[in-house]
Symmetry: C2
Subunit: 180 residues, 2 copies
């Protein structure tokens, strides 16, 4: 499924006439797997059936092994610096999956693990032997506030409500004004 909210960046300082590729990948934040705090531990009884727990996570052991991470190219790549800079760039086509055998090119993550999205800008070097300069032709940006725990189902009521309130595709689950 898509990431929500979508990762978006405003870009400055490119050469307007040069070509760039924009891409994202995801790296593990740590070497752990997490699990939800149980009601027993919290001393709170579940409401029966499907009960959300707390907003806290417990370390549940060592991370599952991960295959080399996939990369998502922004579908407008390559494009001129002027094009990238003239408006906010939105990675709304990026999709996540936990299916290790995925063949749709989606980003594969382990559920219940924490990830750091990374944003990469690659300058398309017009020189003949551009491979030689690969090291100096890209720049990586990390925004720590975009870290998240991957899940297959929401573990926190307030996250669910936030998404229902702010994602237009979930409008069917709203029961009051989205302005709240």
């Amino acid at each position: 499924r898509r990431m929500f909210p979508t990762f978006q960046v405003k870009i400055f300082g490119m050469d307007p006439m040069a070509d760039y590729m924009l891409l994202m990948d995801f790296v593990p934040v740590d070497d752990k797997r997490y699990r939800q705090v149980t009601p027993a531990v919290l001393g709170a009884a579940g409401a029966g059936g499907y009960a959300f727990h707390s907003s806290s996570w417990l370390v549940a052991g060592k991370a599952d092994p991960a295959t080399p991470g996939r990369v998502h190219y922004h579908p407008d790549s390559p494009a001129k610096g002027a094009q990238w800079m003239k408006q906010i760039v939105s990675f709304d086509k990026l999709k996540l999956t936990n299916n290790l055998l995925d063949d749709n090119g989606h980003i594969i993550l382990n559920s219940m693990h924490r990830y750091q999205p990374r944003f990469h800008v690659v300058y398309v070097d017009p020189r003949k032997d551009s491979e030689k300069y690969a090291e100096e032709n890209f720049k990586t940006f990390v925004f720590e506030e975009t870290r998240f725990t991957a899940v297959t189902a929401y573990q926190n009521h307030r996250i669910t409500q936030l998404k229902i309130a702010s994602n237009p595709f979930a409008k069917g689950f709203r029961d009051c004004d989205p302005e709240d």
Copy 2:
């Protein structure tokens, strides 16, 4: 609205590494306006209410004045020759209107007039004074079998049925298998 069927081309012979713009425009086939044959002229009574007539057109006078024709750039332009050639290029974003004040960039046509779609390939010349070579840097293709009469409502039952049978968006009006 969209053209249907969509204008599609298969392209050969480009320089795979060079940039090209692909575009379309529409030129009048003649200087006439047309009207439908009436039932009286045909000797056939209309079925009452909304009756389709024949498949023939009568000349109804001189063409209405037309503003300079708009041009539709294929939204993937500019792109490399290799990109254009590797699959059929489809102009399915092209839209037609009879609204002379249209500000959506759609192609403006006069209803009840005949048009010839034209397809243009423009080579993006990397030379500094490329404007000088504009004349030699494009090529126009005309397929006479794509001529049509612009209308605001269908004038022929068989055209309606053909479109209902072959346009997926009109599936709601089908009453039998689309294979027919």
